[in-house]
């Protein structure tokens, strides 16, 4: 067949763009229902809670970090050992987060799209790293990959060891953020792409991935944040070798032990700033890629 260029009569008149879609107006209705009083109360409670739980400790920490003045702060943060710990931590965390982005998406895909015996059990296992005390994880990893490794793999006191520990504790983040999106994904969209001639890889790359992107990005961000702040799981297997495998949390612990809390606070603030910036950028990115889909005229 061939398509002609003549328009076929007058198509049914399109709804004027100003006519708000039903979804938007129902949202409006929902927003109104709270009433001004309830809304102010809600905002107040949330504001107070966040202040007590997050802002106040952070402010105290920041104040603390400047106990020795601006120059003291700067000296603490730029101390060679501090910089090395920051570098190790951020470097390994970035790699672990990226590995998570790929593997977490893959795991979520298999759990949602494939059927295999023991699927429910595997699905439940994903959450275990959340439930396990991280020090236990460290012991387990040490006995697996430590000096007496039963499988002959020695990762003790290496960055590989760090990476494995961090990958273990951050496993659930991407899986659990991608899974629900994948479940909700409209299979007909993929079928439409197939009917248009798209191969399975093209369908995944051009149709599925863009829909998963916000979830992958935010899961990866959470995994990164968790990796950056991790302590328990790396304590034993990491080895705590300065400039090699010492992570920031261990460096901070060390500063406290040698009675230099201001330096500990200063390095913490530096780490927090990096994490916050990363999370903020990822959040903006995820929101932007989401907004296009949800946007209404």
């Amino acid at each position: 067949m061939s398509t002609t260029t003549q328009p076929v009569g007058a198509p049914p008149s399109p709804a004027p763009p100003s006519a708000a879609p039903a979804r938007a107006s129902s949202q409006g209705g929902r927003r109104r229902r709270g009433g001004p009083g309830g809304r102010a109360l809600g905002l107040g409670v949330v504001g107070l809670w966040l202040s007590l739980m997050v802002l106040l400790p952070l402010a105290a920490l920041t104040v603390r970090s400047f106990d020795d003045g601006l120059s003291g702060f700067w000296a603490a943060v730029t101390a060679p050992a501090a910089l090395a710990a920051l570098e190790v931590t951020l470097g390994v965390s970035v790699v672990v987060a990226l590995v998570n982005a790929v593997m977490g998406t893959l795991v979520a895909w298999v759990l949602v799209r494939d059927e295999f015996p023991g699927q429910r059990v595997v699905n439940a296992l994903i959450d275990l790293p959340f439930a396990l005390p991280t020090i236990v994880a460290s012991i387990v990893l040490l006995s697996l990959y430590g000096p007496n490794s039963p499988i002959g793999v020695h990762l003790n006191a290496t960055r590989w060891g760090l990476g494995v520990a961090l990958a273990f504790v951050t496993l659930p983040f991407v899986v659990r953020s991608v899974q629900p999106v994948l479940i909700e994904l409209d299979r007909e969209v993929e079928e439409a792409a197939a009917s248009l001639g798209a191969s399975n890889t093209t369908i995944f790359r051009r149709v599925v991935l863009p829909s998963l992107a916000p979830a992958v990005i935010s899961g990866t961000g959470l995994a990164f944040a968790r990796a950056v702040g991790e302590y328990g799981s790396v304590v034993l297997i990491g080895g705590n070798i300065p400039r090699e495998t010492q992570v920031v949390s261990q460096y901070i612990q060390q500063q406290i032990e040698i009675d230099s809390p201001a330096a500990a606070a200063a390095v913490s603030v530096a780490l927090l700033s990096v994490s916050f910036l990363t999370l903020f950028v990822l959040r903006v990115w995820a929101t932007l890629s989401q907004r296009r889909e949800a946007s209404t005229a």
Binding site: M1, S2, T3, T4, T5, Q6, P7, V8, G9, A10, P11, P12, P14, A15, P17, A19, P21, D186, E188, V189, E191, A192, A193, A194, S195, L196, G197, A198, S199, T202, R206, V207, P210, S211, S289, R292, E293, A294, S295, T296, A297
Partner: protein
């Protein structure tokens, strides 16, 4: 032309397609009509390759595509809920099939612009699907399917998610589009009015089987069984027959009824009944009656006829039907 031969599809013990054979002529607009769950979507999706058959085969333009994936069947598919690529603009949605084939940019742009004009979405190129109304989204989906020059266009309840007014507009528009583009089209619907309005051939499905295939007029006028009769339009039971309400004639007495029936060459029972209610519905008038055996039925007459006869509630009449050749439950009408 699409040829389906002995198509069989089961889900466990449930038979969704029970050895269905169907020929869809090239260039036709064929409707698959049947109640919900009758297997229409399963049949359509089997033609598309979105469903694997357990038996039988599908040919498109002579080529056996039974074991071909949907990518290689030369089809365009339109889903009830649009299946839009939400993260792409209208232009990119329509261009999708062409860009993945790496057609030259200029050719893609020209083709997409042409199609958007055809479906009346000129000027909406840069919108996202969320910024379109349901009818516009479905027209976008249609343009997207047509962009790859499919041999056959398959539509699964394409207007089912739209409100009545838009639905009626769009199906007439689809009819005009088909008259211009002539692509072999199969439309799934459970709405007999839609099928009668838009299709030039209708296949009626019921419980995974095809009950009857034909053009709209012959299906409506000469249904082969009670199911097709009741599914394609309103029916009233008159004595032992199913008849169309507008074929029922009401007379004041038995003698007049008998002589008029004989004059018209009609056969069938003469049923004594009492008028319960007369309802004026614009051009037509619906008369609700109870036969003397207690059976309630409805007759439909024109307004002029009603004015002339002045039917009133409580009046006794004798009903007969212009067309009621075979008793209920008998075989096909010759």
């Amino acid at each position: 032309m699409i040829t389906v031969t002995d198509a069989r599809k089961t889900y466990g013990d449930f038979v969704a397609l029970d050895d269905v054979s169907l020929e869809i002529p090239a260039g036709s607009l064929t409707a698959l009509l049947g109640p919900s769950g009758s297997g229409k979507s399963t049949l359509l999706r089997s033609i598309a390759g979105l469903e694997d058959l357990d038996g039988g085969n599908v040919r498109i333009d002579g080529e056996d595509v039974t074991h071909q994936p949907p990518q290689h069947r030369g089809i365009g598919f339109v889903f009830q809920h649009y299946a839009a690529f939400k993260h792409m603009t209208v232009r990119d949605n329509v261009a999708f099939g062409l860009t993945i084939r790496r057609r030259p940019k200029a050719e893609v742009a020209r083709k997409v612009d042409d199609l958007l004009e055809i479906v009346g979405l000129d000027g909406f190129q840069h919108r996202y699907p969320a910024q379109l109304s349901g009818g516009q989204r479905q027209r976008m989906a249609l343009a997207r399917a047509l962009a790859v020059d499919p041999q056959v266009l398959l539509l699964d309840e394409p207007f089912g998610a739209l409100d009545a007014k838009v639905r009626a507009d769009l199906r007439r528009w689809l009819r005009r589009l088909h008259d211009e583009v002539h692509v072999t089209t199969v439309l799934v619907t459970h709405d007999q009015e839609e099928a009668l309005d838009v299709a030039d051939r209708i296949a009626v499905l019921n419980k995974g089987r095809i009950e009857q295939v034909g053009d709209p007029v012959s299906l409506y006028e000469r249904p082969e069984n009670d199911f097709v009769m009741s599914f394609l339009g309103a029916v009233s039971r008159l004595g032992d027959r199913l008849v169309r309400p507008h074929d029922i004639v009401l007379e004041r007495d038995h003698a007049t009824a008998a002589s008029r029936q004989a004059a018209e060459g009609a056969v069938g029972p003469l049923v004594a009944a009492r008028v319960d209610r007369v309802v004026r519905l614009g051009f037509e008038v619906r008369i609700e009656l109870t036969a003397d055996d207690g059976e309630r039925f409805v007759a439909q007459v024109t307004r002029a006829e009603a004015e002339r006869r002045r039917y009133t509630a409580g009046e006794d009449v004798v009903a007969w039907a212009l067309r009621s050749e075979e008793p209920v439950g008998a075989g096909p009408v010759a």
